[in-house]
Symmetry: C2
């Protein structure tokens, strides 16, 4: 089987999460040699302005930077674009505005994987929650979002800062699990790992309910679209068509 | 500390080795947040024609493909180029011919790390050995290369094929260790992991002599050059200077 599409990856948000995503793309690819793998062009740019700060109106031109990166990946030959950072999807309209190739949303793919549940917990950054991208999509899919409260979100931001600073140890994992279990205690039948730092410390074996890892779902969708196992046409932009 | 240079990475040879290299770049970077990390542009292209076949004259335009990839990375903003694949360095002249920015050689960096030894073992692909890139550089540095024989090289190629097909299990590691120890028994004071697949199955804890991992050495050099801790000027190309 040979890959059909070249995948552009808006990465570096965070760095470890991008490497984790790439490893999961490789693991999801049926390959017997190098040549069977998917061609990826990765802009691993850890200098994209802080997404949560930009969403909260505290400054930074994250949307413009991401749009420029996406345009350059398209010019370099990417046939589709993905971004293994949930929060940055608040800027999806800025990105899509400059693209003629499809952008595959981690939010849409993750929410589609939640259709069987009535209520799902949502672990995500303060900016991601403030943007409403996940609860709007869940609501449209008829799934109730069980949200963290302000104290839990503050605790979550501290944990992701620790992970981004290189601490993915068991103590951080235990605290992340407590946040997930709090959502379960309030009715969540599954928990969305709606931030690509989460799977670096939390895995399915630690939870009693399904962990819906946005990283894994985007990796699997990326391979399926790239190899033509899933149809991208319905996602294609119209501007140059 | 903020990164100074954007690093272009010729990757995908093999895919797991590139992800391993990226993870080692992140681990080698002194970082407290995303923004402290190095900006990398990665062309993760597993479809580069087989390097060993090209070196042995069996076909494939590996050099031309790598040169085109490198030029595009430079055009996209890369200030330096690295390639976490030893064998592909047989095409370094093709790559440097089209670049105006420095190319940091995994061979040169690895050989520089061997200066303290009189004799080092060399585990590398058939193409890498046939090209002579490692033993020429070792000879110039006054270090004797202890080379695998034909049967050992055939065995090595089977092991790297297994790794590229997704098998990095303990049995492959044990067989790789046997090849390393055969070089030690013939006088090697250290063993060069001169193929970026090797560290996926063999680590220092398994050997009684130093394992000189070309992946680790290139990752550390990449960070040092990107952050300005080591001077790249002596490597700068002259064509546009």
């Amino acid at each position: 089987m040979s890959a059909v599409l070249t995948v552009g990856v808006l990465g570096g948000m965070g760095p470890d999460a991008t490497v984790d995503f790439m490893a999961k793309v490789l693991a999801a690819t049926p390959a017997g040699s190098d040549q069977d793998h998917v061609h990826m062009l990765i802009d691993h740019n850890p200098h994209v302005p802080d997404r949560t700060r930009a969403i909260l109106g505290k400054g930074g031109e994250a949307g413009a930077v991401l749009a420029q990166m996406a345009k350059q990946l398209q010019q370099a030959g990417a046939d589709m674009i993905v971004m293994p950072c949930n929060t940055a999807h608040a800027f999806q309209p800025d990105i899509e505005a400059v693209l003629d190739v499809p952008f595959v949303s981690i939010i849409d793919e993750t929410v589609a994987a939640c259709a069987a549940f009535e209520a799902v917990g949502l672990l995500a950054t303060k900016g991601c929650l403030a943007s409403g991208i996940y609860d709007n999509a869940l609501s449209a899919a008829g799934v109730r979002a069980v949200m963290p409260d302000d104290a839990e979100t503050t605790a979550f931001m501290k944990l992701t800062a620790s992970i981004k600073a290189g601490d993915s140890g068991p103590e951080v994992g235990t605290r992340m699990l407590q946040l997930a279990n709090a959502l379960v205690s309030r009715g969540a039948q599954a928990v969305i790992a709606g931030c690509t730092e989460i799977p670096l410390v939390l895995d399915q074996s630690m939870l009693d309910v399904p962990l819906v890892s946005s990283t894994d779902i985007l990796a699997e969708a990326t391979v399926a679209y790239a190899l033509g196992q899933k149809d991208l046409n319905h996602k294609r932009q119209g501007s140059m068509a």
